[in-house]
Amino acid sequence: MTEFAALAQLTVVAMVPYLLASLGTMLGGLTGVFSVSQEGVMLLGAAIGFLVSYGTGSTTIGILLAAGTGAVFGAALGWATTVLRLDQFVVGLALFFAATGLAGLLYRIVIGQGATTPRVDTLPRVEIPLLSDIPVLGTALFSHNVLVYLAALLAVGAWFFLYRTRAGLDLRSVGENPKAADSLGIPVVRNRLWTATAGGALMAVAGAYLPLVYTGTYTDSIVGGRGWLAIALTFFGGWRPQFIVLGALFFAAMDVVALRAEVAGIDIPSQVLLVVPYVATLLVMVFAFRWARVPEFLGRNYDRESRTT
């Protein structure tokens, strides 16, 4: 049973980057702004989070600055696609390159090309009084770093905001039918701008989580495809926070199982196990695409003067 509790705890820890990046993707996507720069923005978030924490000794400042940088990239995507109406995928890819290059450059400038890899202290666990004493469940759910709790609150908050408030309804209408939303006086551009900006910030925090919670060090491959998986996860979750949480749990469990099976010495080539999350995601998407709703205007720019939209 303790083994199970430990696995459950690892899974919860591993799901946070997926959850944050996917919530960020969802937020922008619900108003129609589809980002493909997650992988780059997460890497930049990881670099900035790590370097600032390394320099200042404060993880909090590291996370905040990472979030700010992500917000700038999200705002750039929002601005280029709403105000300038440039193609969303092309801009997203350009920002992905820029962020990737910037992450590597910053790390090389601050740390240099040296052989030793510096470390930072990872976020401490905060045990929630009483709740963390519950057997199994206490270890699995209530004995984590603050970002885990924050991500959980965010998912619940996002659900409440989107489905139980007027502003959330307005926001979703922008992604479904911007023309109708516009004619009702809902500010299309403003909604797209703030959701894209907040989405970028979330992606960067998801990236900063990796060195600051997971590894304590930064490498160029630290994100390892989680950004792309976050996009898949958002589709899988049907652009709804409640299902995205479930999807993130599934992705994280895949990660943990693949790692554990390798350690446990199961007699299968390790490559087969490492491939499981990606193949499973592909298979899941085959089914997910049948039932998952996608915002009607996802990835399309809105031009008030156009007659065709």
Partner: protein
């Protein structure tokens, strides 16, 4: 999804405009984007305390100052052009092939496998087999994504990316289990037989013969997309899917075929890297080729004619980047930022050009 991703370079010019004027007008945004990208990056390099002039001079001259540099540039040009074309062809139908990396690695693994298993065959037999193995495996790899896209409507951006991660493990399995070579020092397969190695042209230093294949592929792509019925269907399906469907073009089928062809080119790139450069499949051999292939495809605006030209420019930057890191100390990542900025400024210059045009008319 919005269909016409990029402006078509074949857009009809005003009848009064001469071709030379049209070309100049087309090149103007590029010049502007290049200048702005280098100015902005220059400010950054200077702010970091490096010698900007020296850094830029190193980037631009490395390829031309030495025969070795030029060889390296041409050698790099081959996979870059092929991957960029592999991205560009599906892009014409509005599909994004982000799986070039996986297609290259799977192609390289298959090519190396054939080159190892049939090492004793004579060149005339083995070399075509090796190249074919690369092309076919790349096509199959992209074919998985194409099948899922055509049959189950799985977004091709995601499926091709996911397959990239699977391909890492495919190569890892070949390099550490099936054909592992412990003496290589890195995770890599054994060397292919001599018959699987591409001849070297004009050496030493010399470029492998794969460059001829890449040139032929680039020329063929240009001709097919511009001068044949298949190319017309491709462009029509991308420009306006609904109108194309009404006119009897099976848009979905065109998209599937385009993606498979794109994958075949990625696989070819992998086979040529094995036969012409490394002599084996090595983990990490794809380096930044996919990113660069996408940048090239986007800067060339999906024109198969311009892809080889842009690829040459990017190859110069890339070869210059490592030289700049060695001699001036500016991290090579700076070049990735320059490339991203070129793309961003190119997009912005479109906006400006569009506004100006509207004001004139």
């Amino acid at each position: 999804m919005s269909a016409p991703v990029l402006t078509d370079t074949d857009a009809p010019a005003p009848a009064t405009e001469r071709p030379a004027v049209r070309l100049l007008r087309g090149l103007l945004p590029y010049v502007l984007a290049l200048v702005l990208a280098f100015v902005v990056s220059g400010v950054v390099i200077a702010a970091l305390g490096y010698d900007v002039v020296e850094a830029y001079r190193t980037i631009v001259t490395t390829s031309f100052r030495t025969g070795f540099g030029f060889t390296e540039t041409l050698t790099k040009w081959v996979p870059l052009t092929l991957l960029a074309l592999g991205f560009t062809i599906p892009l014409a139908v509005g599909r994004f092939n982000i799986g070039g990396e996986g297609q290259l690695l799977v192609g390289a693994t298959a090519a190396a496998g054939v080159g190892i298993v049939y090492a004793d065959l004579p060149t005339a037999v083995l070399l075509p087999l090796v190249v074919l193995a690369g092309v076919l495996s790349g096509a199959v790899w992209a074919g998985i994504a194409a099948f899922l896209m055509g049959r189950f409507r799985v977004n091709e951006i995601l499926s091709t990316v996911l397959l990239n991660f699977v391909s890492f493990q495919v190569l890892d399995y070949a390099a550490t289990e099936v054909w592992s070579d412990p003496a290589a020092g890195v995770a890599a397969t054994q060397r292919v037989g001599e018959g699987a190695e591409l001849p070297v042209l004009g050496g030493p230093p010399g470029v492998h013969a794969g460059i001829v294949l890449a040139l032929l592929v680039a020329a063929a792509t240009t001709v097919v997309t511009r001068r044949t019925a298949a190319g017309f269907e491709l462009r029509a399906a991308g420009a306006n899917p609904r109108a194309a469907a009404i006119n009897g073009i099976r848009v979905e089928k065109v998209a599937v075929v385009a993606l498979v062809v794109g994958g075949a080119l990625g696989g070819l790139a992998g086979a040529l890297e094995v036969g012409g450069v490394h002599g084996r499949a090595i983990e990490g051999m794809q380096s930044n080729f996919l990113l660069l292939g996408i940048i090239i495809g986007l800067i060339a605006r999906g024109s198969a004619l311009w892809v080889p030209v842009v690829a040459f420019g990017i190859a110069i930057l890339e070869v210059g980047a490592s030289s700049m890191q060695r001699t001036v100390g500016v991290p090579a990542e700076m070049v990735l930022i320059i490339e991203a900025l070129i793309l961003i400024f190119l997009l912005l210059s479109d906006v400006i050009a569009g506004r100006l045009a509207r004001r004139v008319t």
